[in-house]
Symmetry: C2
Subunit: 219 residues, 2 copies
DNA sequence: TAGATTGTTAATCGATTAACAATC
DNA sequence: TAGATTGTTAATCGATTAACAATC
């Protein structure tokens, strides 16, 4: 009933997508791996293999039980209660993230936002939150028991912030700053770098045009 | 001199990080795979193998030529000139992205931003840009020859926007909307979903605590 | 029962790591 | 030359795909 054996990294990375798609499937109570896979943008073989790590939530000849599978995914991901999240950086991006409405429905609650700039402190965010001075960071983390934090500072500030987060007990960091953070083993970091993403698209465009050229040259 | 053979997906995904780290290495003109790998958060074996796809920019016994390698990476990624980028969605996130200063230095130039909401049209962004009505999207793409676009709309709007982008000639999409886009083969989509990223961190926390529990039970 | 579809196994494919010969 | 470090090969590892027996 509570499988949670080792889940391969590559499988884990897809579970949130499955959960999202299933959550959008209001009213449907059964779906085949073929249909669900199409909606998730993966192959049905891969979907079935991935879902097998959750134990059996399908019925042969019929398909998967949508609400049951959704609940199992949420449980596997640890989303049975909300996680408090602290945001560091109150610039354009930090504010956009703090105001992101989807947060709550996906299992997270912003419990604090801080900024190094004194001028920003005091500014209001959603949910009755106010930007607080960086000096309060450790205190906020301890008070809210947040173990997940978002870094949305300029590159220079990111490593010291990460150090402080880790010292205060944070073990999961979503990093938007364009730097490689160094953190102790056991602390998870996920990097999101707009520039990197765009450069990968540029690479794709480049390949595309090279491909076209060599086809023109007729190989 | 111009290798550009097939580059494995997994290697391609790391090239922008190498480029970023090398760009931050002002003044250094030579570096060993060991040092550079550490700065990039990968193993030296992996770094050497990855860099080999660019041809030879290292000297045995010495290390890699930093400026040479940086230029080779930029060339491989197609960053020898700036790519025009159109942003769809002028909400919190779209605005934050449009105002992101790092854009230009990484090889991109925002040439247009549109929003479906009439009330937002006319609002000013950086670089003399102004939010334009959604109806102008195709025209903007054709005028600027943009082939890369960013979708920063709510989930509902994303698929119709993607369809319109593709129809207008866009072949690379950076998608921030929490939906699986369906696009024709040959169009590259990169998804960035804040919720997915956080859920993966939650999963990590969950695993962490399960690990702790079973250790307590003394296995 | 017949048809459909899961869960799982085996085969394939690709990516990472280790090791070292080539060479500065 | 001796020491260092790349470029590359071979070995390992993990992920994906294909296929099908189990079973509703």
């Amino acid at each position: 009933m509570q499988p949670s054996g080792r889940v391969p990294e590559s499988t884990a990375a897809r579970l949130p997508v499955y959960l999202r798609v299933l959550s959008d499937l209001a009213g449907v109570d059964s779906i085949s791996s073929e249909e669900l896979a199409a909606a998730c943008g993966v192959s049905s073989a891969q979907l079935r293999k991935d879902l097998a790590v959750l134990g059996s939530h399908g019925t042969r000849g019929v398909g998967y039980d949508v609400p049951g599978l959704r609940d199992a995914l949420a449980a596997e991901l640890g989303l049975e209660q909300d996680w408090p999240v602290v945001i560091v950086g109150g610039g354009n991006l930090g504010m956009a993230l703090a105001n992101y409405a989807g947060f709550l429905s996906r299992g997270f609650r912003v419990v604090g936002i801080v900024d190094a700039d004194q001028l920003r402190a005091g500014e209001a965010v959603v949910g009755g939150l106010v930007i607080q001075p960086m000096a309060d960071l450790a205190r906020i983390i301890r008070r809210t028991h947040a173990v997940i934090a978002v870094i949305a500072t300029p590159a220079e500030g990111a490593q010291p912030v990460a150090d402080e987060l880790v010292a205060a007990g944070v073990t999961g960091i979503l990093n938007f700053a364009p730097v490689v953070l160094s953190v102790p083993a056991g602390v998870a970091v996920r990097d999101v770098d707009l520039g990197v993403e765009l450069q990968l698209l540029a690479f794709h465009e480049q390949q595309r045009s090279l491909g076209r050229d060599s086809r023109r040259e007729g190989e």
